[in-house]
Amino acid sequence: MIIGKEFIKGLYKENPVFRLMLGLCPVLAVSNSVNNALGMGAATIFVLLCSNGVVSLIRNFIPSKIRIPIFIMIIATFVTIVKLVMAAFFPDLSKSLGLFISLIVVNCIILGRAEAYSSKNRVFLSIIDGLGMGIGFTLALIIIATFREILGNGSWLGMELFGPNFKPVLLMILSPGAFLTIGFVIGFLNWFEHRRHIKH
């Protein structure tokens, strides 16, 4: 079923972070805690759904030569809406994520899907694609954040997992930890795929 296929691909086969290697900047920056990862993921999914939907809706009226400024205007509008809504209803999350939400505008996943998919496909499928990619992005964020938060802070989603004697690996919470984790996860997934293809 086409709908299922368009959705599932964003989760694993064409995962925007681990396969398409898009949006790595916010992934590295916001994956230091699972709470931040969820907030960022939710905001990105919302923007992705809206921008994919709108771009697809007006795709026949966008001249190719000015498509990039139009995409950016659409994306920036939705990101600003997310920022305003967050500042009003989720002030604590807004304080910790505020700067990175603004960066969603230049998140390559959103611009990438607008260019590669929603400017060329029907609205419904574009929204499904956005949903799959957004959830795939959020899953990637959660996986990396899980490693970084457990090893670097001894907690998961803020819940302390180990006793007071646990010495966290501070490096994991800082930038090097982000690079190391994402490197290992991508390496593992590549190895896993390689083994799968050998068996067949």
């Binding site: 966008i62 001249p63 030569k65 139009i70 659409i74 600003t80 809406i81 009003a88």
Partner: protein, 195 residues
């Protein structure tokens, strides 16, 4: 030529629709955001005047504007805690709003930075809370210092400036000192120089 006109028209239409949508969302969220800021200010006042949440915080007005606050530990206003006022300093990349709680002898009780948008990882360290602690370490060093005697170590003072964020540190510290000078005059405190 015809293309340029067409492109211009399409871009204008997109821009108009986008701005319209944003103006509408802004209209709805603005009162709520203002309310959030008021709440943050109020809880900031309780933080820089510990004990005032059980008592009363009284604004002192001049020409219809609140210039500072008086805090009491009880609702009958018998236990005076101190004064509170805010300053707006020009930081490195943003205006930094700080609340200061001061006792009647001119010593800082505590400060709380309410708003800043300094460089992430550098200037933002002014609000960083180390794991296991409850208040930002950089702001904690202001407690107990004489209100007109705070300056960063680079200017010969006692406040340790944030590594890589001297401008931010200096802006906040100098902002406190500048505002304090006006406030002390208005409140009418004579500073005891034997600290």
């Amino acid at each position: 030529m015809k293309d340029i006109l067409r492109f211009g028209a399409i871009l204008t239409i997109v821009a108009l629709v986008a701005s319209g949508a944003l103006a509408w969302v802004n209209k709805i969220t603005r009162p709520i955001i203002l309310y959030q800021q008021e709440m943050a200010f109020k809880s900031g006042l309780y933080a820089v005047l510990p004990g005032s949440d059980n008592g009363v915080i009284e604004p002192v007005l001049e020409d219809g504007q609140t210039i500072y606050y008086r805090g009491y530990g009880d609702t009958l206003k018998t236990r005076f805690l101190g004064y509170a006022f805010s300053t707006l300093a020009k930081g490195y990349s943003s205006k930094i709003q700080t609340l200061i709680g001061m006792d009647s002898s001119g010593a800082i009780i505590s400060i709380k930075i309410l708003f800043q948008e300094e460089t992430p990882g550098l200037g933002t360290k002014c609000e960083e809370i180390r794991s296991g602690e409850t208040i930002p370490w950089w702001q904690a060093q202001f407690a107990g210092k004489k209100i007109n005697g705070v300056s960063v170590d680079k200017d010969g003072g006692q406040i340790e400036s944030i590594t890589g964020a001297t401008i931010t540190s200096r802006a906040i510290t100098d902002g406190i000192t500048d505002r304090a000078a006006t406030m002390i005059a208005k409140i009418g405190i004579t500073l005891n120089n034997s600290f």
